[in-house]
Amino acid sequence: MRSTLRFWSMASTHLLVGLGLAASVHAAPQQGGTLTVPIITPAFTENFNPFTNGDNIKGLMFEPLLVYNTMAGTVDYRLVESFSYSEDLKAINYTLRSGLKWSDGQALTAQDVAFSMKLAQKYPAFDAAGLFASGKVTDVVAVDDQTFQVVLKDVDTTVEWSIPNYQVVPEHIWGAVEDPTTFENPNPVGSGPITQVEYVKPQQMQICRNPNYYLEGRPYLDCVTYRAFNDNSQIQPALMNDEIDWGSNFIADIEKTYVAPNPDTHHYWYPANDAIHIYLNTRKKPFSDLNFRKAFSMALDRETIVDLAAYGYPTVNHFPGGLGSYFEKYMDPQVSKEYGSLTDYDPEAARALLEESGYQDTDGDGFLENPDGSPIDFNIRVVNGWTDWVQTVQMVTEYLEEIGIKSRVEAVDWGVYDGSLKQGTYEAAINWSLLSVDPIQTFNEYFHTSRIGQIWHANHGIHAKKVDRLIEEYGRITDASRKQEILAELQRFTAENLPFISLFSNPTWFQYNSTRITGWPTAENPYVHPVWYDAGKRVILFNELHMK
């Protein structure tokens, strides 16, 4: 454990030095300017409760405790200055920075943090990572003004990654609130870079700088203007007309419609996000046959699918071990070498494999039947309205037809989709995978038997006692090399059994306009994963932005 901690803190100092150097070359950017972002909502309301309406204000109005900056490989300490585990590893002690203030000038203390965390314990709807509901965390105690302690039920080093999901609100305001679930927090007091509500109109709202922000000279920008939009297709012209600085939306044919007219100022960067797979219900025929699953995987031309169904924005995934490019550094090269070919487009091999395993067209309709003679005809489920996925699945069915397999797109309502994936009543379905701080969380969602019925990724029918134990062991140990071993083993298990067919990694939708504002992360300077809808990532990004 200690060694990883050292790694994190070293890396973070390294990053700070790097940024500091970059800044000193150009002198400190001047303050001022407004960032405009699009929000898909029918209207803005004066609700500044981060627990019920956090999408717009988390991170920016309420500073995170700390952020795991996975892309930079660092821990970004925000309100928290440092943390350490107790001797028995059953408690985590967090130390806040000194002199922290709320935007109204009152001191921000460990009591505020403990109070806020306990709100989540009292109101399960606020329990953002389910740490209290699952019993993993039993208590949060303010040791003194600057220190609080998270008390764990058992040794579990995966808990710390979920701590940043919890919001910290001022006790001197929220303590007097009768029902925090319906509280609209009309005069918000926050700790983030922007706290002062300038105005709220139905179609636009503006929030400006926190006079008591803890970071010297930050934020560079004065305000954030939120603009309401109906859907992505309405955001497109606004982006094209320089009305928006930071977009996080699907934009059709972005090279042609956005970049080409103004290549100097209109940019996008779509780094890999969560890995997308087609999950197969291996309790049903023909998916119960591993060879069929292998043939399925080899039948798909992933490059063309990505190119046509999604404009080439996603990153093709040729790793069958359950991870996407986001976790590239965790991928086991041995697994890649042994099983990578399963993800290469090879219809000949797929057909041969099927033939070898007894699949034949016995009734002469041009499609293969199961070895026992029963027909193959399955549906691949997708949520109606998620058009890029619908198009992806359409292409998948075309490729399957090429090797003689009959399948159909089945676009269903979310409620139906949700239920069938959790309960395992689907045949095949396209779905995402968990993207978090560490790949172990992803594997936990795939395989741990306690997740069956709870989550969309777990009910495919492939589980093992051994895998459960590996996942549990990972949380209890601190030995980095053993951790790596466990991850490799899990990847091998995935590639051997193929409970899902990896397709690609979703792109992170990130368009930016440098007409007025610079400081954006880029492929060359990827200081943070550019996700607007992530409290921690966007506060890091926002603090780097400044006027041109």
Partner: protein, 325 residues
């Protein structure tokens, strides 16, 4: 449609002798419908042309509408007359095949709605009394419901609604207008001599309804049918455009949906949007023209065209004769 129209009562006639007579009359009626009535000609012409084209889709369409046959969003060319969609499918073929489904839905819901309308409207108008009171009340209540929002909500809650479900939904919600008109018309015919005579002669009720009254409602039922078909065509397109339909079914509405979803207007692929849009508009327009013509024929007062022209020619002649004498 005008509720005050009264059709000509057909005399209770039977036997083989009357048949050629009737057919001749019918032919005259049909000729009369088109004669000097360009909108009717245009409307029926367009409709027939499009129905024929769509039903011949397997012959006329060069490509499978559900297969990728080219690069995405290729502009119209010799090979792909109307270009290709974002997923590389041939739009011309999609339009033909999609038309089959769209038209089946439109005519299907028309048939469902008009069957209900005829049943309810005629029973209400013929039997009167309590039956009439209840049916009329029920009809009026359903009329108060906002049809389109209701359709949208129903479709949304049912999840992915395929074309058959859409046809059923529209058919089951679109009958009240027809019911009202048919009821009024049946009431007007109810106490005509030929109906009373048939009753006195002891004809069975269902026979009176079917044989004596129904034939006189043909133009109204026909007009109502066309009206519902038009309404169904538009509603289906609307529902599917909003993404409430089955996106993997090829219909004119889903073509529009995909075009809109792939931002075709922004990326310059106008053909992707305007092909289905134009087709729906033209077919709808044709139906509207037919409906207008039916209206004019069934209400002789509205008939302009030939009569007026003949009268004008006559008056010119008269003037001339007068001035000569």
């Amino acid at each position: 449609m005008d509720a005050s129209v009264t059709g000509k009562p057909a005399l209770p006639e039977s036997g083989a002798k009357a048949r050629p007579e009737r057919q001749k009359k019918r032919f005259h009626r049909i000729r009369g419908f088109f004669h000097g009535n360009p909108p009717a000609l245009i409307g029926v012409g367009l409709m027939v042309l499009m129905i024929v084209a769509c039903s011949l889709a397997p012959v006329l369409a060069p490509f499978d509408p559900e297969r990728r046959v080219a690069r995405p969003h290729e502009a119209p060319s010799a090979e792909h007359w109307l270009g290709t969609t974002r997923s590389g499918r041939d739009i011309y073929s999609q339009a033909l095949y999609g038309g089959r489904t769209s038209l089946a839905v439109a005519f299907g819901s028309g048939a469902i709605a008009m069957t209900i309308a005829v049943l309810l409207g005629m029973s209400s108008g013929y039997f009167g009394g309590k039956v009439d009171e209840w049916i009329n009340f029920f009809t009026n209540v359903v009329l108060v419901f906002p049809q389109v929002p209701l359709l949208i909500v129903l479709a949304a809650f049912l999840g992915q609604v395929g074309p058959p479900v859409i046809a059923l939904l529209i058919g089951l919600t679109a009958w009240p207008w027809g019911t009202r008109i048919i009821r009024a018309q049946t009431m007007a015919l109810r106490y005509k001599e030929f109906v009373l005579a048939a009753e006195v002669m002891g004809e069975r009720r269902w026979r009176i309804i079917l044989v004596e009254i129904l034939p006189n409602l043909i133009s109204i039922v026909g007009g109502g049918f066309i009206g519902v078909v038009l309404y169904a065509l538009l509603s289906q397109a609307g529902l599917e455009f909003l993404g409430l339909g089955d996106p993997s079914a090829v219909t004119w509405g889903t073509m529009l949906y995909w075009a809109q979803n792939n931002s075709s207007l922004f990326t310059g692929a106008w053909w992707d949007v305007f092909t289905p849009a134009t087709i729906i508009a033209v077919f709808g327009g044709a139906l509207a023209l037919i409906n207008m013509s039916i209206d004019q024929v069934s209400n002789p007062k509205l008939k302009t065209g030939p009569h007026l022209r003949i009268w004008k020619q006559l008056s010119v002649k008269i003037e001339r004769q007068r001035s000569q004498s």
